[in-house]
């Protein structure tokens, strides 16, 4: 039945999809934490005699093109994927938050200049920006995380700015300014706390974008070192065998897609839950 009402606060408990998404993320985190217990042999046991085995005895998800157990790699690889995602997110927020906050709170000249800078970066396709960053920073996990984080920062700054602008228009903020609080103080003490929920929600969706583009860099061969059990790299490696050994790419692909999906859904759901 059609809902003729403005979006209202919808508590998490009444959002089945979001709960599912959070549950999946929890499962991933659990798997990643328990990797040493569940797959003590590690992700790199190469076995040329048993390459591309289908899921079965001893290899619940099959083996990859070098005979490594895929489940073990997924569990250990979660660490790499999530570490890259976390680093990149920190970079994106670390770069985007101050810029967006300053632009939205201080307004005027600062806003204009900062936003033009952000626009200039936004003008480049995200992947190309990340590629260029990798060309400069080199490869490896940190470099890739920095590169993707850099590419994710401009949209984040933009969103932060618009949220900050909205909050700035609130009566209590106007009051604070009337009283004579410095703009920075207002920004940090009033705007930021109120914007936080929306920022967190947006960050969750950004995580999805970050994971995908990190994986894309691996696909292009410019990412983490070969042999790293990062999901995107596993997907790229297994892709060439899609017809003979689909499990080599389907499982990493599913892991990646489901996690990104969950991050996106959770972000959206959180947004609705935190709606006043």
């Amino acid at each position: 039945m059609i809902v003729w009402a403005a979006p209202a606060h919808r508590p998490l408990l009444r959002q089945p999809m979001t709960l599912l998404a959070l549950a999946w993320l929890g499962l991933v985190a659990l798997g990643v934490l328990l990797a040493p217990r569940l797959a003590p042999a590690g992700p790199s046991i190469v076995d040329p005699a048993h390459v591309l085995l289908p899921p079965g005895q001893g290899n619940p998800l099959g083996t990859d093109f070098l005979g490594r157990d895929i489940l073990a790699r997924l569990l250990w690889g979660g660490r790499w994927t999530l570490r890259m995602g976390a680093l990149a997110l920190m970079a994106a927020v670390g770069l985007g938050l101050p810029v967006g906050l300053a632009a939205g709170s201080l307004g005027g000249r600062t806003d204009a200049v900062l936003m033009r800078l952000v626009d200039a970066l936004l003008a480049f396709p995200g992947l190309l920006l990340a590629l260029a960053a990798v060309a400069i920073l080199g490869t490896g996990l940190t470099a890739v995380a920095m590169a993707v984080g850099l590419a994710a920062a401009p949209p984040y700054a933009r969103v932060v700015r618009s949220i900050a602008l909205e909050v700035r228009g609130q009566p209590y903020v106007e009051a604070a300014r009337a009283v004579g609080c410095s703009p920075w103080r207002i920004a940090v003490r009033h705007i930021l706390p109120n914007a936080l929920p929306s920022l967190i929600a947006f960050a969750a969706t950004q995580l999805g974008w970050i994971l995908l583009n990190g994986a894309a860099l691996n696909f292009l061969g410019l990412g983490v070192p070969p042999g790293t059990p990062e999901w995107g790299l596993m997907l790229a490696d297994g892709r060439g065998y899609l017809r003979d050994a689909p499990w080599a790419s389907v499982f990493p692909g599913l892991a990646l897609t489901l996690t990104v999906l969950a991050a996106n859904l959770a972000g959206d759901g959180l947004q609705e839950a935190l709606q006043p």
Partner: protein, 318 residues
């Protein structure tokens, strides 16, 4: 619909402002491109000649010929002046005019971008409206999940799956290449699906907002059937933001095209850019980055102006 002079002046000033901003952004972007690429490690001249057996002296000679050893301010000034004339230089790898190379790749890129955008907008609008109108029901969950799925799947994977299924298994569509509508179907579906996610998300939130406004309530109170209300009033509110998001995502199209072009063996700017980045063919990288930035700025400018034109507040002034 007569417009008061007030409105025209406002629009004129707004346009002027936006144009100036756009120009500034372009200058910033070109400067960023120039300096960023200088920081890449490795020597482009050596990369071009090493495998052919050039001696170190010949490499040095080639560096000088490419102007790589000139002082930075000189290189930058030359670069800006060339840009002003529309001269993007010559590719180090291919020896051809960068502008020609880019112009050649524009039609297929534009073709894919337009087709993918069409797919993305239609799909995004549809899913977003469905999700918002039937909010909090299973329809919402389903539509949202489908939309976000597009956002969540790596195109190099979904693309290959699409080829293997539709092309190889079902033999419905050609898998690769360019040359007509049939070749466009799979790539634009794959790319458009990925695009639809963000559009759907934006549409969903906007439509949800509009659904509760007094305006809509009044329309229903007047007895207008639900379907009409939705299609005429609610959708109209959704189209604006949908286009805004599409414009923002335009950059994504050029970047996402990189992978799609590779998987579907299509020519385009994405592939040109990746090859240039790998080989440090700086003139081409700069050229593509700048063209991409230019396109992005223009598209967003157009979308901003269109929104300003359509803005009901402006209409009210008339």
């Amino acid at each position: 619909m007569a417009r008061s002079r007030c409105a025209s002046l406002y629009i004129g000033r707004y346009m002027g402002q936006r144009l100036l901003q756009a120009a500034f952004v372009l200058w910033l972007a070109s400067t960023l491109v120039f300096f960023a690429l200088l920081l890449t490690p490795g020597d482009p001249a050596q990369a071009l000649l090493a495998a052919s057996g050039a001696t170190p002296e010949e490499v040095i000679e080639r560096r000088a010929q490419l102007g790589l050893d000139d002082p930075l301010p000189l290189q930058y000034t030359r670069y800006l002046m060339d840009l002003a004339r529309g001269d993007l230089g010559y590719s180090w790898l291919h020896g051809r005019s960068v502008r020609h190379m880019i112009l050649e790749q524009l039609p297929p890129t534009a073709e894919l971008a337009v087709a993918a955008t069409a797919v993305g907008v239609v799909l995004g609008l549809g899913l977003g409206v469905l999700a918002a109108v039937y909010r909090s029901t299973w329809l919402d969950a389903a539509a949202t999940t489908v939309a976000v799925l597009g956002l969540s799947t790596p195109t190099y994977w979904s693309g290959l799956l699409a080829i293997l299924f539709f092309s190889l298994r079902l033999r419905w569509l050609p898998s690769v290449g360019e040359g007509g509508l049939r070749h466009l179907v799979l790539p634009s579906l794959v790319l458009g699906f990925a695009l639809s996610g963000s559009i759907a998300r934006m549409v969903r939130s906007r439509v949800a907002e509009v659904m509760g406004t007094p305006f809509v309530l009044a329309a229903r109170a007047r007895g207008i059937p639900s379907r009409r209300v939705i299609f005429i009033h609610v959708l109209r509110a959704a189209v604006g933001p949908a286009l805004a998001v599409t414009a923002l995502q335009f950059g994504f199209l050029l970047g996402g095209a990189v992978v799609t072009e590779s998987v579907f063996a299509r020519p385009g700017l994405g592939r040109l850019a990746v090859e240039a980045i790998i080989w440090q063919d700086l003139p081409v990288v700069r050229g593509v980055a700048l063209v991409g930035a230019l396109a992005y700025v223009l598209v967003n400018l157009a979308s901003d102006l269109a929104q300003a034109w359509l803005d009901p507040r402006l209409r009210a002034l008339a």
